[in-house]
Point group: none
DNA sequence: CCGGGGCGTCAAGATGGTGTGAGGACGCCA
DNA sequence: TGGCGTCCTCACACCATCTTGACGCCCCGG
């Protein structure tokens, strides 16, 4: 999860940003002074900094400069001042962007995304690995023993549902509802057929399970850490 | 020397920027239409692009999107529009910064410096190769087995959407929305026809795929590493 | 020892999606 | 206005996938 350090001395802005950013899957840290901001930045290494220019102790530009001595973290400057010299100063000190208050929250979010994208922080494709089996949820690509495995849509949904909850006991009803839809729940034979196909394609065996464990009378369990 | 491509249809802005930027040790190239901008960007590989949203032929956001398919060049969007949606759209399409007209030249220069400082990276030729197939995304040129291949605009957009995400499973809905526009999503027969035409022109076969893999019921996949 | 329920396995029919070819509609340019 | 390229539409054969039923096995309780 992306950590954002918000530096502002107005509690109102702080509160507003905390809720807005928090609602958009960001972890929000706050600081109200320049010194505090620098200390926190060094301590928690945030992924992005939103910085108000009008701080009580230090000049915002100075904060940017001192951050840039050791950090390349993206910095978005926030300010009520719309003067050219302020913008030029902050940007040349090393800020990435300059937004004038009042600003639209949507715009700020877009600028955060842009700054993050540049920083290269969005390359976290979820690739799960279980021994010689890798499951790339983003690419919908499954590799077993170095070879790509072709799965039908239903097979993939079933695999997806299982690997998303490793080690957890998944009841037949739960699996049926998640893979086939809410109207299903009693068609245990579907599961038997597709679990078999999955096991076959992934190189697993019912009598010597490496990935899919049968829990008789209840459901199935995806083995968290297979014996390699 | 840093090369900047300025895209704007107002000769006045063009002239003003040419002198200002020229006086600051930048080499200035200009384009007045979106198509011209894309062509020039591919030909001269500028170090930075300044782009007006209100172009006569293409929507500015569309230009950003098409540039971003193959290039990471910093893009600063210039616009008279101050609407939130425009900003969000342009930034999420891949723009680095958004400046509203009228703007101060000093600020623009500072934003150029900021964008450049971040970029650092090297410009790569936008030419992708897959076995005996080469795709020049910038010049919109495709070569198969040493022979140039003529593609219609729609065919090229489809190819572009696929080669930009090698190995990834692209759903029919996603492809339709990206090639035909957001309003589409259910016209699977369009895809079938154009995928067939692409396969034919690229020397690919449905029953022995080298490039385009069919994932029945889901979509298509551009094979990352074709068997040569 | 016997019976039953659940599971694994297999194969065949039903279903819906895909490949393919052709033809018409439309806009663009001379 | 006519030709040309491109896009869209349709019908049909074919194929992958889904569904369904049947059967043997094992485990467990009666």
């Amino acid at each position: 999860m992306t950590r954002i350090l918000v530096v502002d001395d107005e509690p109102q802005i702080l509160r507003s940003l905390r809720t807005t950013l928090g609602a958009n899957e960001y972890e929000v840290l706050t600081a109200e002074t320049g010194e505090d901001a620098l200390a926190q930045a060094a301590a928690v290494l945030p992924d992005l900094v939103i910085l108000d220019l009008g701080l009580p102790d230090l000049d915002g530009t100075e904060v940017v400069r001192r951050l840039r001595v050791w950090s390349d973290v993206p910095i978005i400057v926030l300010s009520v001042r719309d003067r050219q010299e302020d913008k030029i100063g902050a940007l040349d000190a090393g800020a990435d962007d300059y937004v004038t208050k009042p600003f639209g929250l949507g715009e700020l979010l877009a600028r955060i995304r842009a700054a993050q994208r540049r920083a290269g922080g969005v390359q976290t494709e979820p690739v799960l690995a279980f021994g010689d089996l890798t499951v790339d949820l983003g690419r919908r690509l499954v590799m077993a023993a170095g070879e790509p495995v072709h799965l039908t849509p239903t097979e993939f949904r079933l695999l997806e549902a299982m690997v998303a909850h490793p080690g957890k006991l998944l009841t037949q009803r739960w699996l049926l509802q998640h893979v086939w839809g809410g109207a299903y729940g009693a068609e245990a034979n579907y599961l038997r057929v597709y679990v078999r196909q999955l096991r076959q394609k992934l190189g697993d065996r019912a009598d010597a399970p490496r990935f899919i464990l049968t829990e008789p009378g209840v459901g199935y369990r995806w083995v968290a850490d297979p014996p390699s």
